[in-house]
């Protein structure tokens, strides 16, 4: 017979540990509290020791990991708060609401810090669009994100979408939010000051998503379809009111701390706030405003009803809190007070229903470092040599097929459903390397991006993890921004499998190395394990969200070719690196080979050179060379600029390698002839290879390699292929 704690997802070892911590057996309510707090989703029990390897410090960091969002300084007493979070499992079951509530949750994490959200991004992974179920998921997720973000009035300015069979049953939906604040308004999720009231504000509590956190910590199986109540319905209108009310409240100075009631609801917000404040809390569940009748204390505690916050105001400010919320048509109820006994005491009216040390739920959770073993598949994938493939004859056709593959094709079908302009700060919207937002009232701009090539991570998680960081930074640099810091969302399979844990450790190590070198500490993040369907894991997908600063927004850059006659240069160097390329994946159906290598010194030099060139106004366009290699990068610059190009490369490499190799640390730039000399001099200073590729001209995409024309495609044709591909697939 399975024991109650086992049904709740706790092991015998963990149950005994609970008894040890309490000095007695837990009652049902207490056991429920432990079960959600000690779930993977809330406790990070399999990842904590590994996450400690991330560099987290820097002069720009105002708040590192451990809070609802990370915060970095952007000068003038201003800062940005940002975080990314996964909503993979709910989205696999109910794509529209799953994705929508993911957006809602991450927005709350940012405005609890006292920041006004200024931008949303998302990073999405799906199976092949040839499947009906995938089309349904893709459509649902995109419209869910669109609905929530548009309705609440925060622009969705960027993100990424990849398609790969490993995500067929387990799509990834990672949402990121960026907010702007004044240093003085920075708020933390802490409860302190004995006797200060504890208030529940926002939506009423229903039986939504009880045990949702546990659900997010399990593999998906056919039975998951049965776990229906775990999916919640979002109310962006309520959240908009909550956002305005919370920001008004913070400005009033009446607040000590606040936190959203997200995963594991009232339990997690109360014990985490008490832990951070070194305090305790007594809460009466009978005072929590409810939407449904007859709820048990544990249901009130575990409910994941959306659009709710826990607020600790200063004593005597209860009425002020109520008035501010009433103005926005919202409820605010005093449900308890802060104590100094370190206990989380739960009352149901007069009756005590639970009493647990707050830190027992948080810090005392057992931490595991499972066995890590290099997966066997890597032998095969690494042994693959692209040279074994038949030689390409029709490069035009290969290029067009790459442009038409959904991973590379234009994502306009997605982002035209997002209001990316609301609040009129979006200076560079979706579709470029990074989005750029102006900071009204200053000359500054903030650039944001999310990146991860999970195919590289599958083939070599260390290198793949490092590349994710490098690519994100490169994207910011191409827009003219200095990279500041990282938020990460680590999506992996079941960590109890040694191969998965190995991938996890390797990826984090690779990311850490790149973060260290590029000076971009990790300030917030999220881990999502158990991304498997019927035993098959997704590709390791450590998504990197990065924020950068443009001191003077006039010195920004975009990827489109600007003017006929401009010269095209390549910063960095192309190598024979077809392993892990989209060329192999799309044309030959091979997810194999060794991914491109990353030389962090060269990467830093290329980024430094490009950024300086942009600041000096030397270059007209800059575009990171990524999936699809140089040929695709040139096509993208040409299409977005609606100007053709004529390129000639002499090289020891084969034409296939020149065109489609995905060597890292490369940026395609264009310059006016007057600036050519200075660019070359600058590249010399930075010790960065800078190779002339050709000229912006005509209405075709022409590429010659060693004197032979290998690509010649009318720009219109390339553009239509690239622009229409996803819409066509969805038919």
């Amino acid at each position: 017979m399975t024991k109650l704690w086992q049904e709740m997802g706790l092991t015998d070892y963990e149950y005994n540990k609970i008894i040890e911590l309490l000095g007695r057996e837990p009652n049902y309510t207490e056991l429920s509290m432990f079960s959600v707090m000690w779930s993977e989703h809330c406790s990070y029990k399999h990842s904590r020791p590994v996450l400690r390897n991330f560099p987290t410090d820097g002069p720009q960091v105002l708040q590192g990991p451990g809070e609802n969002a990370g915060v970095v300084d952007i000068g003038d007493g201003q800062a940005v708060a940002f975080k990314i979070e996964s909503h993979n499992h709910p989205s696999a079951i109910e794509p529209f609401q799953g994705a929508a509530t993911g957006v809602g949750g991450i927005i709350r994490d940012v405005f609890t810090m006292g920041a006004r959200p200024i931008a949303l991004l998302n990073s999405l992974r799906f199976g092949s669009l040839d499947r009906d179920r995938v089309k349904y998921l893709f459509n649902g997720v995109v419209s869910g994100i669109s609905w929530y973000g548009n309705c609440i009035g925060i622009p969705t300015v960027g993100g990424e979408v990849y398609f790969n069979d490993s995500y067929t049953g387990n799509p990834l939906v990672n949402a990121m939010c960026v907010g702007l604040l004044e240093h003085k308004d920075l708020k933390k999720g802490v409860a302190s000051g004995v006797g200060n009231p504890v208030m529940a504000v926002g939506a009423r509590t229903g039986r939504d998503g009880i045990h949702g956190a546990t659900f997010a910590s399990e593999e998906l199986s056919d039975e998951s379809e049965e776990k229906r109540p775990s999916v919640q319905v979002g109310d962006p209108f309520m959240e908009k009111l909550l956002l305005e009310a919370c920001l008004e409240l913070i400005r009033s100075g009446a607040v000590i701390g606040m936190q959203d009631m997200g995963a594991a609801g009232l339990v997690s917000s109360s014990c985490e706030m008490a832990t951070r404040g070194g305090s305790g809390m007594i809460i009466d569940v009978a005072k929590v405003p409810r939407r449904e009748e007859g709820m048990e204390p544990y249901e009130v505690l575990l409910s994941e009803s959306q659009e709710r916050m826990l607020v600790i105001p200063k004593k005597g400010k209860e009425q002020l809190v109520k008035e501010i919320f009433a103005k926005w048509g919202l409820e605010a109820a005093v449900i308890g007070r802060v104590t100094d006994d370190g206990m989380l005491t739960i009352m149901d009216g007069e009756k005590k229903v639970a009493a647990v040390p707050a830190t027992a739920l948080t810090d005392a959770c057992p931490v595991y470092e499972p066995e890590a073993r290099k997966p066997a598949y890597l032998e095969q994938t690494a042994a693959f040599t692209p040279e074994s493939l038949p030689a390409v004859e029709e490069y035009n056709d290969v290029l067009l097929r790459l442009l038409a593959s959904p991973t590379i094709a234009s994502k306009e079908w997605v982002y035209r459903q997002y209001d990316y302009m609301v609040r009129t700060n979006t200076v560079v919207g979706p579709g470029s390397d990074a989005a750029v937002l102006r900071v009204k009232g200053t000359k500054k701009g903030v650039a944001v991006t999310t990146d991860c090539n999970s195919l590289y991570c599958y083939l070599d998680p260390f290198t793949g993890g490092a590349i994710a960081v490098a690519e994100a930074a490169r994207n910011l640099v191409c827009s003219g921004a200095k990279p500041l810091a990282v938020t990460d969302c680590l999506n992996f399979g079941n960590p109890e499998k040694p191969e998965i844990y190995w991938q996890f450790k390797q990826a984090v190590a690779g990311m850490s190395a790149a973060c260290e070198k590029l000076g971009t500490p990790v300030v917030s993040g999220n881990v999502s394990f158990y991304n498997e369907t019927n035993g098959e894991a997704i590709y390791p997908t450590p998504v990197v969200g990065m924020v950068g600063l443009i001191e003077n927004i006039e010195q920004r850059c975009t990827m489109d070719f600007k003017q006929e006659g401009d010269l095209i240069y390549l910063l960095g160097e192309t190598k024979a690196e077809l392993g892990g390329s989209q060329y192999l994946s799309v044309i030959y159906g091979q997810d194999a080979g060794k991914p491109p290598q990353l030389d962090l010194d060269l990467e830093a030099a290329v980024q430094g050179c490009c950024l300086e060139a942009i600041k000096r106004g030397l270059i007209a366009s800059a575009h990171d060379c990524a999936e699809g290699g140089l040929a695709v990068a040139l096509a993208e610059c040409a299409i977005s600029g609606r100007r053709g190009c004529s390129v000639g490369v002499s090289s020891d490499l084969t034409a296939t390698e020149v065109l489609f190799s995905e060597s890292q640390s490369r940026i395609v730039v264009s310059v006016t002839p007057e600036n050519e000399k200075e660019l070359l001099a600058l590249a010399g200073e930075y010790n960065v290879p800078c190779q002339k590729l050709g000229i912006v001209a005509g209405n075709d995409l022409r590429i010659m390699v060693n004197g032979t024309e290998v690509v010649s495609v009318p720009l219109d044709k390339a553009e239509n292929t690239w622009r229409e591909a996803i819409a066509c697939k969805l038919g």
């Binding site: 229903g206 939504d208 919640q232 209108f237 009803s305």
Partner: protein
């Protein structure tokens, strides 16, 4: 030929923000005697089927597959021979 009239509603217990908004608005219009407002979808379609049983079977299938999302919604329908 049958005419199917299908109602799709959020499951009991699932938050219905739209219903809540309509209820508040009705109260603001001084219909204080109104409560428990729920908002759902209504669909009508014409179906060429051999008999009522076959029609019923098909409509149920369409609801499960497309018209309702069984994760959060319930559906009911009526069939009228036309």
């Amino acid at each position: 030929m049958f005419r199917a009239e299908i109602k799709v509603m959020l499951k009991k217990g699932v938050l219905d923000p739209q219903g809540g908004a309509v209820e508040r608005s009705l109260h603001a219009l001084e219909y204080d005697n109104v409560s428990q407002v729920r908002v759902g979808k209504y669909m009508e379609l014409t179906l060429d089927a051999a008999d009522r049983e076959a029609a019923k079977q098909q409509v149920r299938e369409m609801c499960e597959r497309l018209l309702a999302n069984p994760v959060i919604e319930d559906y009911t329908f009526d069939l009228v021979e036309v």
